[in-house]
Every structure is written in C-alpha cells, then in structure tokens.
Symmetry: C2
Subunit: 85 residues, 2 copies
C-alpha cells in the first residue's frame, strides 16, 4: 500500500514535487528512487558529506522518523514521463 | 531522438542498468533523471565532493565527452515500474 502523505512533505515539494518529479533542472527526480539510496543520501546531506547548504538547512531540523517517512514516500511514487527531455 | 548507446555504458550498467534502473539497492535509478543534475553529480564524484571511492575510480579515466554522453543517455531513458517497491 502507498504510504500516507508525510507531514513534512512541503519542505521537499517546492523543488522535488509532491510526487518526486523535480520542478527545477538542478533538483533530481525522486519518484521510485531506491529506498536505501534515498536514506543514505539524506544522511550524507545532513552530516555534510554531500555538501549542499540548502539541503543541510532544510533537513537539519527534521527528525529521523520524519526523514524516513519522506524517503519511503518518494520511493513509493511512480515516475511520470514529464521528467524526460 | 534517443541518443546512441554510449561507448562506456558498460562501466555504469552493472549497478545502474543499461536503461538506468538500478540493479542493487545502494545504487540509484538514473532513468529519466534531470540532465543538469546528472552532470553535476558526475563532476562531484570525480572531484571528491561526493566522496564515493568506487564512483571516483570508475569515472576517473572517462573523458568529459564520454561522461556527457552517459548523462544524456540516462536522462533520456524512461523509468520502468520495476524500480518501485
């Protein structure tokens, strides 16, 4: 079953879209992305191994449980073809 | 039109698949990913800003032109639903 819409989805959706299809060229699509990969990427943004200040700022105050909920949400979405060139 | 199959696609396909659907949980799907994002990610893997030794080793000997061809290839692929949980 699809996960419930995460409480903190609004933080992500401006750039990544509610369903994980990116709204801007510099942001990646997340729809259907591998769950393990999303979890690891979030850890790396938070601790600075991926040094992207915007992501660190946005993720900083988000609890681990909320981050996990977001990763599950995006991983469970189906990519749409609008992301293709 | 879809790009021609890149000469160096074999370097990527073991983990990311020929069409960009990941073969292992730790690797991201690349099919239909934003082109600008893929190009920047490759630069970051190469220069160590994304510190993933395997990626650095694999990308190190690949020319800029070949990297660009790979980014274009994966961006032009259509995600399949097999990547979803």
């Amino acid at each position: 079953a699809a996960p419930a819409k995460p409480a903190r989805l609004g933080l992500c959706a401006a750039c990544h879209g509610e369903t994980g299809m990116a709204q801007i060229p510099a942001a990646p699509n997340l729809a259907g992305q591998k769950l393990d990969y999303l979890r690891e990427a979030l850890r790396q943004y938070r601790d600075g191994r991926r040094n992207v200040p915007l992501m660190r700022t946005v993720i900083g105050p988000v609890s681990d449980a909320d981050l996990d909920e977001l990763a599950r949400w995006y991983s469970a979405q189906t990519p749409s073809s609008q992301g293709n060139p």
